[in-house]
């Protein structure tokens, strides 16, 4: 990244940006220090311990990244993850995020703590909308939130925090598939499935906030093995490059949620930055799949990668 060559403080034309770190740098130039502290890059160590085993002479001319999740078709295995209160990053907040996600054909996960009413956001998320809420001790409140989101057009409800009893109650009430987010162990995965979750997000994000350690990619293989296809396994946490996404898929995830990359795009450019962030990740994933000889997601498997000791 040769940001150093650029005039200090310049916000480059969005089409010049080549990776999500550069989008991050533009966001840093645009926002105040306190906001940037929320967006600063995560540790790369976990991803740097994983390399590819590229297979050659495989025809990949029909390169296809599409997949089906909970009955809906997705353009690529990349969703815009939930982020609360996006007015912190852009005056148009979630509306602009939804426009950018739609332009990149990516499904948007809308936080229950959005700055804008979700009924206004969903129609703009033309590639699909999911809803995310924090499970409350008051189960009726969670159920009401989920029902409202489903009524507005959200296809899936992601639940974070709470307990398994609250999750089971939400599963019964939501009227849409419920995905448990924040799973970091096989025991958690089993409990979530036991409570009726139809999907998991292996995620280091807890109610205390992100740990910054990218532990999700490290625990993902064991959880994916234990789940063994019973429910959809998704993952988030520190995915900044298309190669990171390919690693997540190889280690058992059906799709990856990214948040910081599109949020940085939102902060620096609005919808155009969100679109650029998602398209960079999609394109780099496709390029890395071509390099590994994988023409579609089904061709990706554990032996696409090697995990190293250091």
């Amino acid at each position: 990244m040769q940001i150093a060559l650029e005039p200090a403080g310049r916000i480059a034309p969005v089409a010049e940006l080549l990776n999500t770190y550069e989008i991050g740098e533009m966001a840093r130039r645009k926002v105040d220090a306190a906001t940037w502290a929320l967006l600063a890059p995560a540790d790369r160590a976990a991803f740097d311990r994983i390399t590819f085993r590229p297979r050659l002479m495989v025809n990949t001319t029909g390169m296809d990244l599409t997949l089906e999740l909970f009955g809906e078709k997705h353009f690529a295995p990349l969703l815009v993850g939930p982020v609360a209160n996006q007015r912190r990053f852009h005056p148009e907040a979630e509306l602009e995020m939804a426009r950018g996600a739609a332009a990149a054909k990516a499904t948007l996960v809308i936080s229950a703590e959005s700055s804008v009413a979700l009924e206004q956001i969903v129609p703009l998320a033309k590639a699909g909308a999911w809803f995310q809420l924090k499970l409350e001790p008051d189960m009726a409140k969670s159920a009401a939130l989920a029902k409202r989101a489903v009524a507005a057009g959200c296809k899936v409800v992601i639940a974070t925090g709470g307990n398994w009893k609250a999750l089971a109650a939400l599963v019964k009430a939501a009227g849409a598939p419920v995905v448990a987010k924040g799973v970091l162990s096989v025991a958690d995965a089993e409990a979530a499935i036991g409570a009726g979750a139809q999907g998991l997000v292996v995620s280091g994000w807890t109610e205390r906030g992100a740990t910054g350690k990218n532990e999700a990619i490290e625990v993902l293989p064991a959880i994916a093995d234990a789940v063994n296809g019973r429910v959809a396994v998704l993952v988030d946490g520190g995915f900044r490059r298309g190669s990171d996404v390919l690693k997540g898929l190889a280690l058992g995830a059906k799709a990856v949620l990214v948040a910081r990359a599109p949020v940085c795009g939102l902060a620096a450019y609005g919808a155009a930055g969100v679109q650029r962030a998602m398209e960079i990740l999609q394109t780099d994933l496709a390029r890395d799949m071509a390099g590994c000889g994988k023409a579609n997601l089904a061709a990706i498997s554990r032996d696409t990668v090697k995990i190293h000791r250091f």
């Binding site: 040769q2 940001i3 990776n19 390399t51 590819f52 297979r55 390099g291």
Partner: protein
Amino acid sequence: MNKFEISRRRSIEALAGFLAGSPLLSGQIDPIRDHARVPGIKELLTAFEFEAVMYAKQTRAVYNYRAYGEESEFTLRRNRLAFDWVKLAENKAGTSNTGSATVDTSTEIFGTKMAFPILVSPTALHGDLDKDGEQSTHKGAAAASNTPMILSNNSSLSFDKVMSAASSPMWVQLYPKQAMDANKAYLEPAIAQGAKAVVVTVDQLATVYERSQHDRNLNATGGGRGRFGGGGPVPAGNPYRISVGRLWYEWKFFEELRTFVKVPIVIKGILTAEDAKLALEHGVDGIYVSNHGGRSLDYGPSTLEVLPEIVDAVGGKVPVLFDSGLRRGADVLKALALGANAVCLGRVPLWGLGSYGVTGVTRVLEIMQAEFVQAMLQTGCTRLSAINRKIVLANFP
């Protein structure tokens, strides 16, 4: 790569920037005599030092195109790291190889006789670095104990022009073309003019040099490639915006090539045992372990760490060549110890060519050869057949 990561190049730049502003340094250097002084060729002692001279003498875009790697350059860095994961074992046998012993480094691959197990890798467009382009490289290589040269498919000059410039053996490299007639039209004249083998590069499928693209954004010339493609505009009908020009590759290409190529065929870019076995099944005569000098797939493995599994899979049936990341004679020995029959050098001769032309190529190759001999002596090997895995301690992560 994020801005918190460290690369050698960035470290050098940072140190140079610090020193340039330091009163300590300006107090020691005579500003008249040493200002922008380029060292004489004989002052350079390692291949690394040629890179700095080449950097100083060439335009930024010409240097960058050759120095940079794919995307975040993880693999570019790992290629160098991997040589640190392999140590040369101490020569405990004490086999008297400390001075007067003669060392035989000669070998032969596909009938090509070599004084050292070292060839020049195919690299593009030497005309950017030297007015006589690949002719200068060939002359320089020939003067370094007749080092063989593999001419790039993207050479600045035609095969016959380069071949006629000097006497060292030449092979020819090919990027597969989907129309077999195009491969024929390119290879048949080269083989008729003396190419002893054909090296088919099968990696770099949709590669982009992220950092070179910055040159394009900053309006520098040369080197840059399209963000969303490996060499041209985004093809219509590709929803994911990658270049599709090479995605058609299939193994049957080698059988088709064989119908008119009668010299040995080498596959370049192999990084797994599985692909090495498939390559043998499809009739190749040589396996060339390469990650294109970190220019093909970011987060691919270093070549050294996968060399043993490939050598085991090949089982001695065909020669194994090796490149990506070599800068020292000891690196050459490590690759041979892990089973390579010979190594190829891409950037090393380019640093020589871009710094001092013909003599730079010769000198930098001679340095690698001399270091290789020293490393052999250090481990008690006086001939190539004595080199095996016992002379190294490998600790790959």
